[in-house]
């Protein structure tokens, strides 16, 4: 199963699950990252981190470490 952090720019995928044990995961879920929702990679900041994704019709930035918590449907 691949992770959100591995998605390449322009690619879209559906979220399978989120490792809910960390505080960051709760934030991500509140911001709309829930299983079944689709997410698209927009790009990354100049140093390669953080990432910018599109979810539920808006743009969200998150670090790679946080994107690692999100598993995608393969």
């Amino acid at each position: 199963m691949s992770k959100l952090s591995q998605l390449s720019v322009g690619q879209e995928a559906v979220i399978a699950s989120i490792d809910a044990s960390s505080v960051a995961a709760v934030r991500l879920m509140e911001m709309g990252m829930t299983p079944g929702c689709s997410v698209k990679m927009i790009g990354s900041a100049p140093f390669g981190d953080p990432l910018e994704v599109e979810i539920r019709g808006y743009h969200l930035s998150l670090r790679k470490t946080e994107a690692d918590l999100v598993e995608l449907v393969s």
């Binding site: 989120i18 505080v23 879920m29 709309g32 743009h59 969200l60 930035s61 670090r63």
Partner: protein
């Protein structure tokens, strides 16, 4: 509630996601009838406003923008406490207004779902419809209102659209009943919440169902510490319940987002239409350039350069500062002409006008900086700046959100520290506040200019880089590096903890509201003027008194009495040329008397007293006194040195005589110069690192609501400055004096 109930005030709490135009709407509704303050113990801002509509008075409480009503820190708890009427000195709201972004309904309805569970009469302000239209989104407002079971008003906050209808609807809430509490959670979860609520009520009758639900969901343990007396039995029950729920396929806390977003999807099903292919908006196209690796970096550097150019160049700020200086000179001249010499005149000119005027001179820079920051924030670029800078800041344990406060601090730490409010993580905000005063603010500039011009040879390295520029630049870099080091150390010592997540919305770009930008500028500018008028005023009066008393004019004048009398007689019969010479000599004597008086003052005594302490820095007692005098505001050092070196207090950093005199100054009874390159460097380093600004410390006190942090800042910066200056002197003495 019956319609003929006696008139009462309607207290409405404003809730909503950040970037939805909530503050703009609050400002538009309440106009100038606003009051801002802080809640004790936390850094949450308290904003009250009011309006009267159709004879009904409405009080508004603007709560901080938030994506969720799940408290995980004291700051977030305030919002929930206000809504539940648990906040001391705050009336329980009898209605809630939720501001939602029409272009982003899916995520914005999440908090609507939480607000609905409070059961208070609610109105939804559907804002930013224009951006929704640009994105090709249309919303069936009537249907949405029916499904939510609350009135909805379409507003256009930045153009004051829909305000009357919104006021009508708010006032009508007075007659509406509480709305039925509707939980989106599955039945098993609701049962558990009910049981927990009953258990909590055994201990505390006031506890609400909402808090019981939050307690069950909050796995971080924060609420448990906050709400319950921490009984082992209750804790075990909660843990056991969470396990049972997980087995039922309702894992805590994930179940909340899953349930609420499911509810949101049901509500929006069929009433929000998007054009088949998602429109590529102008915002998307702009963003493709501005967050692009190369284009984004270039634009970022360009916009920062532009901003600093505007703040520091003569073109804008410089001229305005000149006018302010001119204004104070005129006042000083007026006071000088209309008052007899004496304590009062000295207090007004040397104390109040020099001290307060010296600070107010920075008002244009602060206004220009805030003008830029407000525009960048309003149009949505600041979020991108934080995004671009996050990687760099994460290396020292902060996040990109610290970028703006630290940037503002280059003009002045005061607005910088206030700008730290955008950081929602308490620890990050505190560290940012504590290191902000290390950024080289504009008040350090005069010190750098004076000493660089006097002691650093006017040479260029390789014919390009001027040594002067290099030294100035080093001072700015020194501040930045010190801030990096201190932040790094604080993270690992007294403020440890997990690196907070960087999960941030990148809002759509929009055209900034000019009135909003101007309002921010005036608000910040005025706050600065108020501080200068109160705290700086008080401090300058104190420093003035210390440098004025005790005053034995006779003793100071005695050695020169004869000469003065002689000169004055000569003056009567002198030719023009002779008169000029005599007057010059008289002025010299006056300056020597002033110097003698200062040496005898409390400040002068303190200078002598601390001389052993400042010796390792290469300083004499005069520099020591000047440093002490400039603790309230570092600008004071220039005028104090002027007085101490017998030149009168009218010196500024470009004054050639002051530059020449300090070059010539000798250690008492020797031929040895007081000032040399190592001493100049040591003074500059001291001023770069020291917390010589009472106003900054006062703002730290206000923003952190504790004396602990301003004291901490003062101590650590003073130690840093002392050690830094000592190392600089000792090392550079080896290089330059051997």
């Amino acid at each position: 509630m019956s319609v003929d109930a006696p008139a009462r005030t309607l207290n409405v709490a404003l809730v909503g996601n950040p970037n939805t135009g909530k503050s703009t709407l609050f400002n538009a509704l309440s106009g100038i009838r606003q009051k801002t303050g802080n809640y004790p113990g936390v850094t949450v801002e308290k904003k009250h406003g009011s309006f009267t509509h159709k004879g009904q008075k409405v009080e508004l409480i603007d709560l901080p923008g938030t994506y969720s009503l799940a408290p995980r820190s004291p700051d977030e708890m305030v919002t929930v406490d206000v809504l539940l009427g648990r906040q001391a000195n705050e009336t329980k709201p009898n209605a809630v207004m939720v501001i939602v972004d029409a272009s982003n309904l899916e995520r914005n309805l999440y908090i609507v779902s939480q607000v609905k569970e409070l059961g208070l009469p609610t109105v939804v302000a559907l804002n930013m419809g224009d951006i929704a239209r640009d994105k090709g989104i249309s919303v069936d407002v009537i249907q949405l209102s029916q499904r939510l079971g609350v009135p909805i008003v379409a507003t256009q906050a930045n153009r004051r659209g829909g305000l009357d209808q919104l006021r009508d609807t708010i006032v009508s809430l007075l007659d509406s009943d509480s709305i039925p509490v509707e939980s989106p959670f599955p039945e098993e979860f609701r049962d558990k919440v009910g049981q927990l609520h009953a258990k909590l009520q055994e201990h505390d009758e006031q506890s609400t169902r909402y808090l019981a639900e939050r307690l069950l969901l909050d796995t971080s343990g924060y609420l448990e510490k906050e709400l319950t007396s921490g009984g082992k039995e209750l804790h075990n029950w909660i843990v056991e319940s969470r396990n049972q729920l997980a087995e039922l396929g309702q894992p805590v806390p994930a179940i909340e987002a899953i349930s609420r977003y499911k509810w949101v999807q049901e509500v929006l099903d069929g009433i929000v239409t998007r054009e088949a292919t998602r429109k590529v908006t102008l915002s998307d196209r702009i963003d493709r350039i501005l967050t692009n690796r190369i284009g984004g970096t270039i634009f970022f550097i360009f916009i920062m350069t532009l901003m600093f150019q505007a703040v520091f160049s003569d073109l804008v700020a410089g001229n305005l500062m000149g006018y302010i200086e001119g204004f104070f000179e005129i006042i000083a001249g007026f006071v000088d002409a209309s008052l007899a010499d004496g304590a009062l005149k000295s207090l007004l000119i040397d104390g109040v006008i020099a001290g307060v005027g010296g600070v107010l001179v920075f008002l244009p820079q602060i206004c220009i900086l805030f003008f830029f920051i407000a525009i960048l924030e309003d149009c949505g670029y600041l979020a991108r700046a934080a995004y671009l800078m996050d990687r760099l800041f994460s290396k020292i344990g902060l996040s990109g959100k610290s970028f703006i406060p630290l940037l503002s601090s280059f003009a002045c730490a005061i607005p910088g520290i206030m700008a730290a409010r955008v950081i929602e993580n308490r620890r990050d905000r505190l560290i940012t506040i504590l290191v902000a005063p290390l950024m080289s603010c504009s008040a350090r500039m005069p010190v750098y200019v004076l000493l660089t011009a006097a002691f650093i040879p006017d040479e260029t390295i390789g014919g390009v880089l001027s040594l002067h520029t290099l030294v100035m630049l080093s001072m700015y870099l020194l501040g930045i590096l010190a801030a990096v080091g201190v932040a790094f150390v604080l993270r690992r010592t007294i403020l440890p903890g997990e690196t907070p997540p960087f999960v941030m919305e990148l809002p759509s770009y929009k055209f900034p509201s000019i009135s909003g930008v101007l309002m921010v500028m005036v608000e910040k500018g005025w706050a600065f003027v108020k501080r200068a008028g109160t705290l700086i005023f008080a401090m300058t009066v104190i420093v003035w008194a210390l440098s004025y008393f005790p005053r034995d004019e006779e003793a100071a004048t005695a050695p020169f009495a004869e000469e003065i009398a002689q000169l004055e007689t000569q003056l009567e019969s002198a030719s023009d040329e002779e008169a000029a010479q005599i007057e010059h000599r008289l002025a010299e004597i006056n300056n020597q008397i002033d110097g003698e008086l200062l040496r005898g003052s409390f400040l002068g005594m303190a200078g002598h007293w601390i001389e052993p302490v400042v010796r390792p820095l290469g300083w004499d007692w005069k520099i020591g006194s000047a440093a002490i005098a400039s603790f309230p505001a570092r600008e004071v050092i220039i005028s104090t040195m002027g007085v101490l070196y017998n030149l009168g207090g009218e010196e500024d950093e470009e004054s050639a005589p002051l530059r020449e005199t300090i070059k010539e100054a000798k250690w008492a009874g020797t031929d040895e110069n007081v000032f040399n390159i190592p001493v100049a460097l040591s003074i500059m380093v001291f001023f770069a690192l020291c917390a010589q600004c009472a106003a900054t410390l006062a703002v730290i006190k206000r923003e952190t609501n504790s004396w602990r942090w301003p004291i901490f800042t003062f101590v650590y910066m003073t130690v840093l400055a002392y050690v830094g200056a000592m190392i600089t002197y000792q090392v550079s003495a080896l290089v330059f004096l051997s």
